[in-house]
């Protein structure tokens, strides 16, 4: 990580740690904590969609799987929260293994349509299978995480830090992944299946890994959601949630680390402040999404990173290399990340 990046992340962390004092009231804490939870899921989605190039429209379904794992185990079977939570990620990942096995052989569009259908199946199952999921009523009264070490997790401030801890851990792991050879492998797959294979990359194995990792994050976020909001319904599996997360990713910058994070935090706050937008947020965000995709496809963070990388490259370049016109010519006909 470069020095700038390290400063940036440290600053963000400090802000996050200090936030409860800056916030002023519990409502703001709630907004932020919920944003963090969705940020974890969004960062997961970014791994399979942004880095590996497969648009998974069932992502919110997997988040719901994690949430319902916690809900069902704690409310219906009396399991303590932390034990159930520990299962939320793995259960989602296991389901992801089977879904991925079947779906990742498909070409990109088919994959998206397939996952759209899988997502719908998940939603409909949750809604109709009352014996397991309580159907449309949802699961109420999920217990707060049990306290330990004197920390009371029903208290908003403690909850906030707990969620923040998981977010930080998720980002840290994600950071390790995307900077490593594994992350480069995913990017190579996004750039093109054929080329990746020609480089000796086992497509199925790596796509499956990326998929399972991404839904693990979703499941874990779902488990956190269940313990935080203490009530879940079929709505969390709806495809609209995936659309929300897609929007966060795009605004922040698909395929970057900070992008989805900033999008997932920035957009809910934006809608908070633009209260009148609350109901009409998509009337605005719909066109915003379209405009972004056309004019700023790399999102806020992505564009900034690109510009900075270009500056660094020019600074490091020696005179007498390819002329800027050649660069522009090459850029015209190329696929953009």
């Amino acid at each position: 990580m470069s020095r700038h990046e390290r400063y940036g992340w440290s600053a963000l962390l400090l802000l996050a740690l200090a936030f409860p004092w800056l916030a002023g009231n519990d409502y703001h804490l709630t907004v932020m904590s919920t944003a963090y939870i969705y940020a974890i899921a969004t960062v997961g989605l970014n791994l399979i969609t942004g880095y590996t190039g497969q648009f998974n429209l069932a992502h919110s379904g997997f988040m719901a799987v994690g949430a319902y794992t916690v809900g069902i185990l704690t409310v219906d079977h009396g399991m303590p929260f932390w034990a159930a939570f520990a299962l939320s990620g793995p259960v989602a990942a296991l389901l992801g293994y089977f879904v991925g096995l079947v779906s990742l052989r498909l070409k990109t569009h088919f994959f998206s349509i397939f996952t759209l259908c899988v997502g719908y199946i998940m939603f409909l199952l949750i809604e109709k299978w009352e014996g397991l999921t309580h159907g449309t009523t949802g699961i109420v009264g999920i217990p707060a995480p049990e306290s330990f070490a004197g920390l009371d997790f029903s208290e908003p401030r403690t909850q906030y830090y707990m969620v923040l801890l998981f977010l930080a851990a998720s980002l840290w792991i994600m950071h390790r992944i995307v900077r490593s050879l594994l992350g480069r492998t995913f990017i190579a797959i996004r750039n093109g299946d054929e080329l990746a294979q020609a480089l000796g990359i086992d497509l199925m194995r790596n796509k499956l890994l990326a998929f399972m990792l991404s839904v693990f994050f979703a499941g874990m976020a779902g488990g956190l959601y269940a313990g935080y909001v203490r009530f879940i319904g079929p709505g969390i599996a709806a495809v609209e949630q995936t659309f929300d997360m897609t929007m966060y990713m795009l605004i922040g910058g698909i395929g970057t680390l900070a992008g989805p994070l900033l999008g997932a935090i920035g957009v809910p706050w934006l809608t908070q402040y633009l209260q009148f937008l609350q109901d009409y947020r998509f009337v605005v965000f719909g066109p915003v999404l379209v405009l972004l995709v056309i004019f700023l496809p790399h999102g806020v963070v992505g564009t900034w990173l690109l510009r900075r990388r270009r500056r660094d490259a020019e600074r490091a370049a020696q005179p007498g290399s390819a002329t800027p016109q050649a660069g522009a010519r090459a850029r015209k006909g190329t696929r953009h990340a």
């Binding site: 088919f110 349509i113 659309f243 009409y280 995709v293």
Partner: protein
């Protein structure tokens, strides 16, 4: 026996609606090579426009149908020009996201104007016929009739006119068509217009039975995707056959298996088929 025929009727009704929606989607896929997630919103928009025309401006049912077709055709063309055309060289992911943006805009726009409630759409065809113990609600007969008429007209247009043949050529193979000197832009706009009109009309036909609400397009569009994947993306006969198959599968499934889970049938079919045959049922037009 009567119950069986009843389901046949239901199957035809559903199939007719799905056909119309899937046809538009499959033609557009040929142009975009990307699934247009906004198509469901076009469907919904058709219903709302007609609803508006009937309740606020006092249009008759058929006039509202025509108005809806025209309005959605316009929305569809605008989408093509303002959104998909600028993105023509962008990666597919961006197309998909942009179509979602359109979807969100249209749905929330409808919600902003008309609220999230369910609305009734009136139809002059409230009568019920009875034939040999089978109940034939007039609106369903109307849907079946109108759907087949529209499909027949479309087929005539696609087969017998030059423009129509061009659309088919473009839907099957854009590069090839461009090589032969076809004005891709004009044809693209026309295709989008037709697709929009079909979706809008399908909604207006079905709305009296199924009510009008902002998320009415969701299930329909997802099933339409199933249909075009199974029928072959870009294939008109595939969309027709697929639409009927899904329509029947749902009608019979709802009755003989379970009404609760009937919506899953289409998706389960897709999951099953793509699991066994990743390239879809037809290789023609596959990418």
């Amino acid at each position: 026996m009567e119950l069986f025929l009843q389901q046949v009727l239901n199957g035809l009704t559903l199939g007719g609606v799905y056909c119309l929606v899937a046809l538009g989607l499959t033609l557009v896929y040929g142009i975009l090579h990307v699934p247009n997630f906004a198509h469901g919103a076009f469907y919904m928009a058709g219903a709302y426009v007609a609803f508006f025309l009937v309740t606020r401006l006092g249009f008759g049912y058929w006039a509202a149908l025509a108005g809806a077709a025209a309005a959605v055709a316009l929305i569809s063309v605008l989408s093509e020009r303002l959104v998909f055309y600028p993105l023509r060289n962008a990666p597919y992911l961006h197309h998909m996201i942009a179509s979602i943006g359109i979807l969100l805009f249209l749905e929330s726009g409808a919600q902003a104007i008309w609220g999230a409630d369910f609305h009734r759409m009136d139809t002059p065809y409230n009568g019920i016929l009875s034939f040999g113990g089978v109940i034939l609600p007039a609106q369903r007969l109307l849907i079946i009739g109108a759907a087949f008429l529209l499909v027949a007209l479309l087929q005539l247009f696609l087969k017998k006119t030059v423009t129509g043949a061009t659309i088919v050529a473009l839907a099957q193979n854009r590069e090839g068509a461009a090589l032969v000197g076809i004005d891709a832009n004009r044809v693209a706009m026309l295709t989008f217009a037709i697709a929009g009109a079909l979706a809008g009309m399908a909604a207006v036909l079905y709305a009296p039975i199924n009510l009008v609400y902002t998320s009415m397009g969701h299930l329909v569009i997802t099933k339409a995707f199933v249909i075009i994947v199974l029928g072959g993306m870009g294939s008109v006969p595939g969309a027709i056959v697929g639409g009927l198959i899904i329509g029947f599968a749902e009608a019979f499934g709802a009755f003989y298996i379970s009404t609760d889970y009937k919506d899953i049938i289409a998706f389960a079919l897709l999951v099953l088929i793509l699991s066994l045959r990743p390239q879809g049922l037809f290789q023609k037009g596959a990418h």
